[in-house]
Amino acid sequence: MNEILLVEDNPDDVELTLRAFRKSNVANEVIVARDGAEALEYLFATGQYAGRDPDALPQVVLLDLNLPRVDGLEVLQRVRAHPKTKLLPVVILTSSTEERDLLSGYSLGANSYVRKPVDFEQFADSVKQLGLYWLLLNHRAPTTAQD
């Protein structure tokens, strides 16, 4: 129930992110989706995740923007459009600092926007803060809040 969904197509970034979580003592299970389509299948329990409990949602979604098949902004749009997932915490985690990405990310309802720095220590720091904030400090909205 307390897993983190990491949507990231770059295996190096996946590995470094997982390493950063380990270093920060974030013990939550991390589910990795390699593209936007896989992320949506996981969240809505379809496709390869058809057997999953559709009501079980991750604690937080860390979402890269540049993804194969379905890109990050579209994933965010679909997540916000669905009553079940519209309050799910989504953090955009990307190397882009383009204003248009920031703007569309926030206007589509991203909860936070974190730039991946080149410096691994900074990266680890960002991930650590993300973990602390979203996993410990932020009380998730109840999943039953459907209208």
């Binding site: 970034d13 470094l16 991946k116 080149v118």
Partner: protein
């Protein structure tokens, strides 16, 4: 019988004259027209009236010394005097005569003359009608007519006059040339049937009828454009102005028409040209937009894809140091640190390049920006980051520029970052921000420091991307900061330059508006 009869006759005349002497004198002397009597034989004046004296300037005595031919102008001098001696007594008139006055003025006169007997002599009674003024008026009228005619003949525009019924009464040579009619062929014909295209004739007649009925019109006093037709049926565009000319009895209407085919063609050509230009501009704009879009896609891709491998290199180098640290030699650890520094430096280069490309893109606004306040905000940030190095900063009061706030912020971030960097070895570091008036009236802003300065030989190279005048080991940097500054200044239409000496500090100056032409230079 024969001998007495004249005597009796004469006696009767004299008696009658005596009786009517007073009234005759009154009729003669008080007559407002100049009158005189002269002797048929000698042509000598016998009597003149007061009006003649007043009109000709001679006294009565002077008149009586003269012969009637003395009054004739030199051109009339040779004309034979009309011999009325044997003519039957009746009134005669002569026109076109000219008399000379005492002060040598020439008078145009008409003469009425009657032969009679006066004081027993055959005499001629003359009444003078001075027509000088009338002749002058007539001549003036003739001149005016000639002028009018000359204008009509020489006018480049067609001048067509019609009467109240719309019939042609004037058709000048330009009209003949333009419409292909002779004046004598169109005189008196309805104008509508000649030069107005068939399709418009009814409207013309209706308009004329409406004008006659109600006095309303759409034509008089306006410059209008319409179609006209030539005698061969071909149509062409004309420009037309119609004026009403008040005449005696009826009013006349004169139209001034000009063939504007060529102008219309030019206008059409211009319109076509404009449309083509418009099209070309939009094509170029589309091409430019495509280029800009491509550049943006490139930058976006650079921002994402070039950084990812750097993160991998840096991240796993760090992982290696952390995981295998104890078994690595010092040298190996140094190598790994070099790898990490290089990747971080490359990350910085990518970021700076992206910023350089960002300042060239995007909308620009111009508003008043308080550069002093901006500099202080950035200085506070730099002081926080620079680990204890905090130069004394002097900002002149009210350094305000018109420019894009976002770009000016980037500009000052770069300039102040340099100033902080190059003064970092001085404990008495000073940075001054101010503005001075330029020779052309524009404002020159400057950022001056007392840092390490630079060799002025290379001053021009400072602003090219990747140009560095110091070793990275001495002062870190990517060499893109001043290139970014220059691009921002250029986007505002200004100029930027740097002055400095090694060890003597540096001063970067810039303007934010195009140079003004001095003394109203021509261009």
């Amino acid at each position: 019988m024969l001998g007495r009869a004249p005597r009796i006759e004469r006696a009767r005349v004299i008696r009658a004259a005596a009786q009517e002497d007073e009234s005759f004198r009154l009729l003669f002397a008080a007559n407002p027209l100049p009158m005189w009597l002269y002797d048929s034989e000698s042509l000598q004046f016998l009597e003149v009236n007061d009006a003649a004296v007043a009109h000709y300037g001679y006294t009565r005595d002077e008149f009586l010394q003269k012969r009637v031919t003395d009054l004739h102008s030199s051109e009339d001098a040779e004309r034979p005097v009309h011999d009325l001696r044997r003519a039957p007594p009746r009134l005669r008139r002569w026109t076109n005569m000219r008399h000379r006055t005492r002060d040598a003025r020439l008078l145009d006169v008409e003469i009425a003359a009657h032969n009679l007997e006066f004081r027993g002599r055959a005499a001629v009674l003359v009444v003078v009608h001075d027509v000088t003024e009338r002749k002058r008026t007539e001549a003036a009228l003739r001149h005016s007519d000639a002028r009018h005619r000359a204008i009509l003949e020489a006018a480049l525009d067609c001048i067509v006059t019609m009467d109240g019924d719309g019939r042609v009464i004037e058709f000048n040579p330009a009209a003949e040339r333009t419409f292909g009619y002779r004046k004598r062929d169109v005189f008196g014909r309805p104008l509508a049937d000649l030069i107005i295209p068939p399709a418009l004739r009814q409207a013309h007649r209706d308009g004329l009828a409406r004008y006659h009925a109600t006095g309303t019109h759409k034509v008089l006093g306006h410059r209008i454009e319409m179609r006209a037709v030539r005698s061969d049926g071909s149509e062409f565009p004309v420009e037309l102005a119609v004026t009403k000319i008040p005449g005696q009895g009826e009013e006349l209407y004169t139209g001034y028409l000009r063939d504007i085919s060529e102008r219309k063609q030019s206008e059409d050509a211009l319109r076509t040209l404009n449309a083509e230009l418009e099209l070309r501009v939009s094509q170029r704009t589309a091409e430019l937009q495509a280029a800009v879009d491509e550049l943006e896609a490139f930058s976006y891709s650079v921002s994402h894809d070039l950084r990812a491998p750097l993160r991998t290199i840096d991240g796993f180098s760090q992982a290696l140091v952390e995981d295998a640290g104890p078994v690595l030699s010092t040298e190996t650890r140094t190598h790994l640190n070099r790898i990490r520094h290089a990747t971080q430096r490359m990350g910085q280069l990518i970021d700076d390049l992206l910023q350089l490309s960002k300042v060239s893109r995007g909308e620009m606004t111009r508003e008043a920006v308080d550069l002093g306040e901006l500099a202080v905000r950035i200085a506070n940030e730099l002081n926080r980051r620079s680990g204890g190095h905090s130069p004394a900063m002097t900002v002149a009061p009210s350094v305000v520029a018109m420019g894009d706030p976002r770009l000016l912020r980037v500009l000052f971030e770069n300039l102040l970052d340099n100033a902080w960097k190059f003064t970092s070895r001085r404990s008495d570091a000073q940075i001054e921000i101010g503005s001075v008036g330029g020779p052309d009236g524009s404002t020159i802003f400057f950022v001056r420091d007392n840092g390490v300065g630079f060799d002025p030989t290379y001053a021009a190279k400072l602003f090219a991307p990747f140009q560095r005048l110091h070793a990275v080991s001495d002062f870190p940097g990517t060499g893109i900061g001043l290139a970014t500054v220059r691009r921002i200044v250029h986007r505002h239409g200004g100029q930027v330059w740097a002055e400095g000496t090694p060890g003597g500090g540096a001063c970067v100056s810039f303007t934010l508006e195009p140079a003004r032409a001095r003394g109203g230079a021509s261009r």
